[in-house]
Amino acid sequence: MTSLATTTATARRLPRIDLWWVPRGLVLGLLAFAIFGPLTNLVLWTVAERWYFPHALPLEYGFSYWQRVFSPRGNAMESLANSVFVASLTVIVALALAVPAGYALARLRLPLRSLILVAFLIPQAFPNLPVYVNIARLFYGLGLNGTIPGVVLVHVTHGLVYAVWIATAAFSAIDRELEEAARSIGASALRTFRDVTLPLAAPGLMASAIFVFLESLDEFTGSFFVGAPDVNLLPLLLYTAGAGGNYQIASITALLLLVPSIGFMLVVERFLKADVLSRVGH
């Protein structure tokens, strides 16, 4: 709704061209460069055979590093399989804990509700390193160090904040009257939950599952202290390759971790609707 005066003025000088596209295009172009520039740079590194300063582009392109990563002797395939397996188990355990907790926080009267919500934030709030060192000591005594269940437990603790907060928001976004209607025509509390509440909350719960999955794929510090060197995961491979100065291997590993993340980004709004989003953390 630009005012009439400016519209006619623009129309007289430059028919059919909106001058506002100059600043708009500039800002959007800069944003596009800030976002896709780094990603393009990473992709270039995955196919660069030789590249050094001051050359703007790689001197030689090729796939020899891809062959090295995916060769039967390379450990990328093992890391990839481990990462996906650990993340899937983490999702199952985290949701089994978060669905009842989220329902209770959204629907039932709880003493100290704010405090309980903040309690799940604690694993994100404290630099995890000293904690993971102490978990590693604890797990060593229990025989969990260097095992998949050990790593899964650490990832569950880390991901619970997303699982619980999003599940709580998903449940509180549901219209109470739908549940009350089901109850008033004789459905039991459990049946109401299974047939009415759970299906309505499903998109939000799906979003929280994907969040937890990605958090587990991303998790680096805990995997390093509890998992390494027995359980190889992709982030550990990326870090060791990067620290060793091997930009190609590090970039290829980073690209493998990028694909599921960007895939989720493209579909997130199908699962996480605005009414759920506006309730996160309330």
Binding site: M1, W20, G37, L44, Y52, M265, V280
Partner: protein
């Protein structure tokens, strides 16, 4: 069974997980911060401040600066998505801003390390546009790199939360103010932002605590001095097996994040009252 009891039973498994796998080791590390060869004292803190006070200040400044920039970027993006009148520009922005949303921190570290390096694409572009000469090209892999990495990764997250909250606002007040001739910037600052303040603060608090505990970004982008507390903790453990000072540094950053979480709690209590 009363609703309160049922609620507690349903929350209990999740709370127990957090307690056993996080609070217990956390308590162990807090106690460890005061432990010096079997006895207790403040020696670890003396050593932590003597060696790392510059890094502690650096961490607070970096994370606060990043949080402020993230807030501004998120409001700008959310505001344009809500108030923008050119539908094409709005949908381009909506498609564009979310790309970094779920990219793992360790990948962000690698992506920006290649981009901001001396021969990275940023310098190459500046050189080819004639903004700088090749001799002036410097690596951005210092504090600027950390701030860029944090903003790059966290601003879309807060923008997503904020634009979701803005989208569910009542359009009536906005239209009314628009009809009375208020500029869009004024509507954003005086009508829209105050109404989504809770969501904005939640997003910023989550970002603040996330940034305080990320290890991979400072390790990959800026491992030299001054660096962030997390990198110092990793160094104390790897190089010296010095649990005392590592735990003391952990407690210091816990106190910094606790004061920020306190702001959230206070705000939440006030808005529910």
């Amino acid at each position: 069974m009363s609703k309160r009891l049922l609620g507690l039973i349903l929350v209990l498994p999740a709370l127990a997980t957090i307690t056993l796998l996080f609070l217990v080791p956390l308590a162990a590390s807090i106690i460890g911060a005061f432990e010096i060869e079997g006895s207790y004292g403040l020696g670890n803190f003396d050593k932590a401040f003597a060696l790392y006070s510059q890094d502690i200040l650096f961490t607070v400044v970096i994370v606060s600066l990043s949080t402020a920039i993230i807030g501004l970027v998120a409001i700008a993006i959310g505001g344009y998505l809500t108030l923008g009148e050119n539908t094409l520009a709005v949908s381009i922005l909506r498609w564009l801003y979310r790309w970094p949303l779920f990219i793992p921190f360790i990948v962000v570290g690698q992506v920006l390390r290649t981009f901001l390096a001396k021969n990275g694409m940023m310098n190459n572009t500046l050189v080819s546009l004639g903004v700088i000469t090749p001799l002036e090209a410097t690596s951005f892999l210092d504090w600027r790199g950390i701030v860029i990495a944090f903003v790059w990764k966290q601003a879309p997250f807060v923008a997503l939360l904020v634009s979701g909250a803005m989208a569910s606002l009542d359009r009536g007040t906005i239209e009314a103010a628009r009809n009375l001739g208020a500029s869009r910037l004024r509507i954003l600052v005086e009508i829209v932002v105050p109404q989504v303040a809770t969501t904005l603060i939640v997003g910023l608090v989550l970002s603040f605590v996330t940034m305080m505990s990320v290890l991979s970004v400072p390790l990959m982008i800026n491992a030299q001095s001054p660096t962030m507390i997390t990198a110092d903790i990793a160094f104390r453990l790897n190089a010296y097996r010095d649990y005392g000072v590592a735990n003391a540094l952990g407690l210091i950053s816990l106190l910094i994040t606790a004061s920020v979480a306190w702001i959230y709690l206070k705000h939440n209590v006030r808005s529910q009252a």
